[in-house]
Amino acid sequence: MLVPPWHETLSDEEVTQRLNTTMAKSGFTSFTSEKGGRIVGALWYDTPSLDDLEAERRKPLRNFAADLQEKTGIGTLVWKREVMVHPDSQGQGIASSLRGAFLTHLGEKYPTGVIVLTRMREDNSGIVRLAEKHGFQKTGISPSISKTRSFSGILV
Protein backbone atom coordinates (compact mmCIF):
# COMPACT_ATOMS: atom_id res chain seq x y z
CA MET A 1 0.00 0.00 0.00
CA LEU A 2 1.31 3.44 -0.91
CA VAL A 3 1.20 5.91 1.92
CA PRO A 4 1.32 9.59 0.99
CA PRO A 5 4.58 11.03 2.30
CA TRP A 6 3.10 13.93 4.27
CA HIS A 7 1.50 11.62 6.79
CA GLU A 8 2.79 11.11 10.28
CA THR A 9 2.32 8.45 12.89
CA LEU A 10 1.43 10.18 16.12
CA SER A 11 1.00 8.77 19.58
CA ASP A 12 -1.96 9.67 21.73
CA GLU A 13 0.29 11.87 23.87
CA GLU A 14 1.69 13.71 20.86
CA VAL A 15 -1.78 14.46 19.55
CA THR A 16 -2.93 15.63 22.97
CA GLN A 17 0.09 17.88 23.30
CA ARG A 18 -0.40 19.37 19.82
CA LEU A 19 -4.07 20.02 20.39
CA ASN A 20 -3.49 21.61 23.79
CA THR A 21 -0.83 23.89 22.30
CA THR A 22 -3.10 24.75 19.40
CA MET A 23 -6.14 25.53 21.51
CA ALA A 24 -4.08 27.86 23.72
CA LYS A 25 -3.17 30.10 20.79
CA SER A 26 -4.55 33.61 20.58
CA GLY A 27 -7.96 33.79 18.90
CA PHE A 28 -8.24 30.02 18.48
CA THR A 29 -11.49 29.26 16.62
CA SER A 30 -12.69 25.94 15.25
CA PHE A 31 -15.22 24.59 12.80
CA THR A 32 -16.57 21.07 12.71
CA SER A 33 -18.44 18.93 10.24
CA GLU A 34 -20.78 16.35 11.69
CA LYS A 35 -22.63 13.46 10.18
CA GLY A 36 -25.07 11.45 12.20
CA GLY A 37 -23.97 13.27 15.34
CA ARG A 38 -20.31 12.29 14.89
CA ILE A 39 -17.57 14.73 13.98
CA VAL A 40 -16.09 13.74 10.62
CA GLY A 41 -13.91 16.78 9.98
CA ALA A 42 -12.55 19.95 11.52
CA LEU A 43 -10.70 23.12 10.63
CA TRP A 44 -9.25 25.70 12.95
CA TYR A 45 -7.43 28.99 12.93
CA ASP A 46 -5.88 31.50 15.30
CA THR A 47 -5.03 35.18 15.09
CA PRO A 48 -1.32 35.63 15.82
CA SER A 49 0.41 38.93 16.47
CA LEU A 50 3.68 39.72 14.72
CA ASP A 51 5.45 38.69 17.93
CA ASP A 52 3.63 35.34 17.87
CA LEU A 53 4.76 34.79 14.28
CA GLU A 54 8.34 35.55 15.17
CA ALA A 55 8.22 33.22 18.17
CA GLU A 56 6.86 30.41 16.05
CA ARG A 57 8.61 30.87 12.70
CA ARG A 58 11.42 33.35 13.33
CA LYS A 59 11.99 36.81 11.88
CA PRO A 60 11.47 36.13 8.14
CA LEU A 61 7.79 35.32 8.57
CA ARG A 62 7.29 38.30 10.88
CA ASN A 63 8.87 40.58 8.30
CA PHE A 64 6.86 39.04 5.47
CA ALA A 65 3.58 39.59 7.35
CA ALA A 66 4.56 43.11 8.43
CA ASP A 67 5.33 43.99 4.79
CA LEU A 68 1.94 42.64 3.72
CA GLN A 69 0.22 44.65 6.43
CA GLU A 70 1.94 47.81 5.27
CA LYS A 71 1.24 47.20 1.57
CA THR A 72 -2.42 46.31 2.04
CA GLY A 73 -3.37 48.41 5.04
CA ILE A 74 -4.89 45.25 6.54
CA GLY A 75 -3.79 44.61 10.10
CA THR A 76 -5.52 41.39 11.09
CA LEU A 77 -3.56 38.19 10.67
CA VAL A 78 -5.32 34.85 10.61
CA TRP A 79 -3.37 31.62 10.58
CA LYS A 80 -5.38 28.78 9.14
CA ARG A 81 -4.04 25.63 10.78
CA GLU A 82 -5.33 22.13 10.28
CA VAL A 83 -8.05 20.96 7.94
CA MET A 84 -8.71 17.31 8.62
CA VAL A 85 -11.29 14.80 7.50
CA HIS A 86 -11.81 11.29 8.80
CA PRO A 87 -10.55 8.82 6.17
CA ASP A 88 -13.98 7.19 5.96
CA SER A 89 -15.51 10.55 4.97
CA GLN A 90 -12.84 11.80 2.60
CA GLY A 91 -13.78 12.57 -0.99
CA GLN A 92 -17.25 13.77 0.00
CA GLY A 93 -16.62 17.51 -0.03
CA ILE A 94 -16.18 17.84 3.73
CA ALA A 95 -12.92 19.80 3.44
CA SER A 96 -14.51 22.16 0.92
CA SER A 97 -17.46 22.64 3.20
CA LEU A 98 -15.14 23.47 6.10
CA ARG A 99 -13.14 25.93 3.98
CA GLY A 100 -16.38 27.52 2.81
CA ALA A 101 -17.60 27.97 6.39
CA PHE A 102 -14.21 29.38 7.37
CA LEU A 103 -14.14 31.92 4.53
CA THR A 104 -17.75 32.98 5.10
CA HIS A 105 -16.97 33.47 8.78
CA LEU A 106 -13.89 35.57 8.00
CA GLY A 107 -15.85 37.70 5.55
CA GLU A 108 -18.44 38.42 8.22
CA LYS A 109 -16.01 38.94 11.07
CA TYR A 110 -13.49 41.06 9.18
CA PRO A 111 -15.48 42.94 6.52
CA THR A 112 -12.57 45.28 5.75
CA GLY A 113 -10.19 42.43 4.97
CA VAL A 114 -7.82 40.00 6.60
CA ILE A 115 -4.46 38.44 5.82
CA VAL A 116 -4.64 34.67 5.91
CA LEU A 117 -1.50 32.66 6.54
CA THR A 118 -1.15 28.94 6.27
CA ARG A 119 1.63 26.44 5.82
CA MET A 120 1.92 23.08 4.22
CA ARG A 121 4.48 20.54 3.22
CA GLU A 122 5.88 21.37 -0.15
CA ASP A 123 5.88 17.68 -1.13
CA ASN A 124 2.10 17.61 -0.66
CA SER A 125 1.67 18.91 -4.19
CA GLY A 126 -2.11 18.46 -4.37
CA ILE A 127 -2.81 20.72 -1.44
CA VAL A 128 -0.20 23.25 -2.62
CA ARG A 129 -1.94 23.50 -6.00
CA LEU A 130 -5.30 23.91 -4.27
CA ALA A 131 -3.95 26.73 -2.09
CA GLU A 132 -2.53 28.52 -5.12
CA LYS A 133 -5.83 28.09 -6.91
CA HIS A 134 -7.52 29.83 -3.98
CA GLY A 135 -5.20 32.80 -4.25
CA PHE A 136 -2.49 31.89 -1.77
CA GLN A 137 1.02 33.00 -2.62
CA LYS A 138 4.23 31.35 -1.54
CA THR A 139 6.10 33.31 1.07
CA GLY A 140 9.30 31.50 0.20
CA ILE A 141 9.89 30.85 3.87
CA SER A 142 10.70 27.26 4.75
CA PRO A 143 12.34 26.30 8.01
CA SER A 144 15.35 24.16 7.19
CA ILE A 145 14.39 21.46 9.66
CA SER A 146 11.08 20.59 8.05
CA LYS A 147 9.41 20.28 4.69
CA THR A 148 6.76 22.84 5.54
CA ARG A 149 6.54 26.05 3.60
CA SER A 150 4.54 29.10 4.52
CA PHE A 151 1.87 30.58 2.32
CA SER A 152 -0.17 33.71 2.64
CA GLY A 153 -3.39 34.87 1.12
CA ILE A 154 -5.29 38.08 1.41
CA LEU A 155 -9.01 37.98 1.80
CA VAL A 156 -10.68 41.31 1.16
Binding site: H7, E8, L19, S33, A101
Partner: protein, 88 residues
Protein backbone atom coordinates in the same frame (compact mmCIF):
# COMPACT_ATOMS: atom_id res chain seq x y z
CA UNK B 1 -67.70 12.16 5.36
CA UNK B 2 -70.34 14.88 5.48
CA UNK B 3 -72.11 16.06 8.59
CA UNK B 4 -75.55 17.48 9.33
CA UNK B 5 -75.52 21.24 9.76
CA UNK B 6 -78.53 23.54 9.98
CA UNK B 7 -80.69 20.85 8.51
CA UNK B 8 -78.47 20.18 5.53
CA UNK B 9 -75.61 17.90 4.79
CA UNK B 10 -72.27 19.69 4.75
CA UNK B 11 -69.17 18.27 3.15
CA UNK B 12 -67.01 20.42 5.40
CA UNK B 13 -65.92 22.46 2.45
CA UNK B 14 -68.20 25.49 2.37
CA UNK B 15 -66.49 28.91 2.17
CA UNK B 16 -67.30 29.65 5.82
CA UNK B 17 -65.92 26.36 6.98
CA UNK B 18 -62.76 26.80 4.96
CA UNK B 19 -62.24 30.23 6.50
CA UNK B 20 -62.75 28.79 9.95
CA UNK B 21 -60.20 26.06 9.28
CA UNK B 22 -57.65 28.45 7.89
CA UNK B 23 -57.85 31.09 10.61
CA UNK B 24 -57.99 31.04 14.35
CA UNK B 25 -59.37 34.37 15.49
CA UNK B 26 -58.82 35.57 19.04
CA UNK B 27 -60.17 39.03 19.78
CA UNK B 28 -58.53 41.31 17.26
CA UNK B 29 -55.68 38.93 16.50
CA UNK B 30 -55.74 36.53 13.63
CA UNK B 31 -53.37 33.63 13.82
CA UNK B 32 -52.61 31.07 11.17
CA UNK B 33 -52.77 27.54 12.53
CA UNK B 34 -49.35 26.22 13.43
CA UNK B 35 -47.81 23.52 11.30
CA UNK B 36 -47.85 20.16 13.05
CA UNK B 37 -44.61 19.68 14.93
CA UNK B 38 -42.74 16.50 14.17
CA UNK B 39 -41.17 15.07 17.29
CA UNK B 40 -38.66 13.12 15.26
CA UNK B 41 -36.40 15.33 13.15
CA UNK B 42 -36.96 13.40 9.97
CA UNK B 43 -40.25 12.51 8.37
CA UNK B 44 -41.01 11.49 4.85
CA UNK B 45 -44.48 12.72 3.91
CA UNK B 46 -46.76 10.71 1.72
CA UNK B 47 -45.46 7.26 2.47
CA UNK B 48 -47.24 6.47 5.65
CA UNK B 49 -45.90 8.69 8.39
CA UNK B 50 -42.57 9.15 10.03
CA UNK B 51 -39.65 7.15 8.93
CA UNK B 52 -36.29 6.95 10.63
CA UNK B 53 -33.34 7.91 8.45
CA UNK B 54 -30.15 5.99 9.09
CA UNK B 55 -27.42 8.21 10.58
CA UNK B 56 -25.03 7.56 7.69
CA UNK B 57 -27.59 9.01 5.29
CA UNK B 58 -27.93 12.25 7.20
CA UNK B 59 -26.58 15.42 5.67
CA UNK B 60 -23.26 16.71 6.87
CA UNK B 61 -23.53 19.78 9.08
CA UNK B 62 -20.63 22.21 9.15
CA UNK B 63 -20.53 25.00 11.69
CA UNK B 64 -18.50 27.11 14.04
CA UNK B 65 -18.09 24.93 17.10
CA UNK B 66 -15.53 24.60 19.86
CA UNK B 67 -13.65 21.33 19.67
CA UNK B 68 -12.84 21.38 23.40
CA UNK B 69 -15.88 19.32 24.49
CA UNK B 70 -15.33 16.85 21.63
CA UNK B 71 -11.59 16.25 22.02
CA UNK B 72 -11.80 12.47 22.01
CA UNK B 73 -13.40 12.52 18.55
CA UNK B 74 -10.98 15.16 17.29
CA UNK B 75 -7.97 13.18 18.51
CA UNK B 76 -9.18 10.07 16.76
CA UNK B 77 -9.66 11.91 13.45
CA UNK B 78 -6.34 13.71 13.84
CA UNK B 79 -4.54 10.42 14.24
CA UNK B 80 -6.37 8.68 11.44
CA UNK B 81 -6.28 11.57 8.99
CA UNK B 82 -2.56 12.11 9.38
CA UNK B 83 -1.49 8.53 10.05
CA UNK B 84 1.51 7.14 8.22
CA UNK B 85 5.30 7.31 8.19
CA UNK B 86 6.70 10.71 9.00
CA UNK B 87 9.24 12.49 6.84
CA UNK B 88 9.22 15.68 8.93
Amino acid sequence: MGRLENGSISDGNSPNERRTRNKLTTGSETTQPAEPVSKFPFSIPGIGGRKEVMPELQQEKTRLQSIAPRLAEIKEIYQKAFAGPSLA
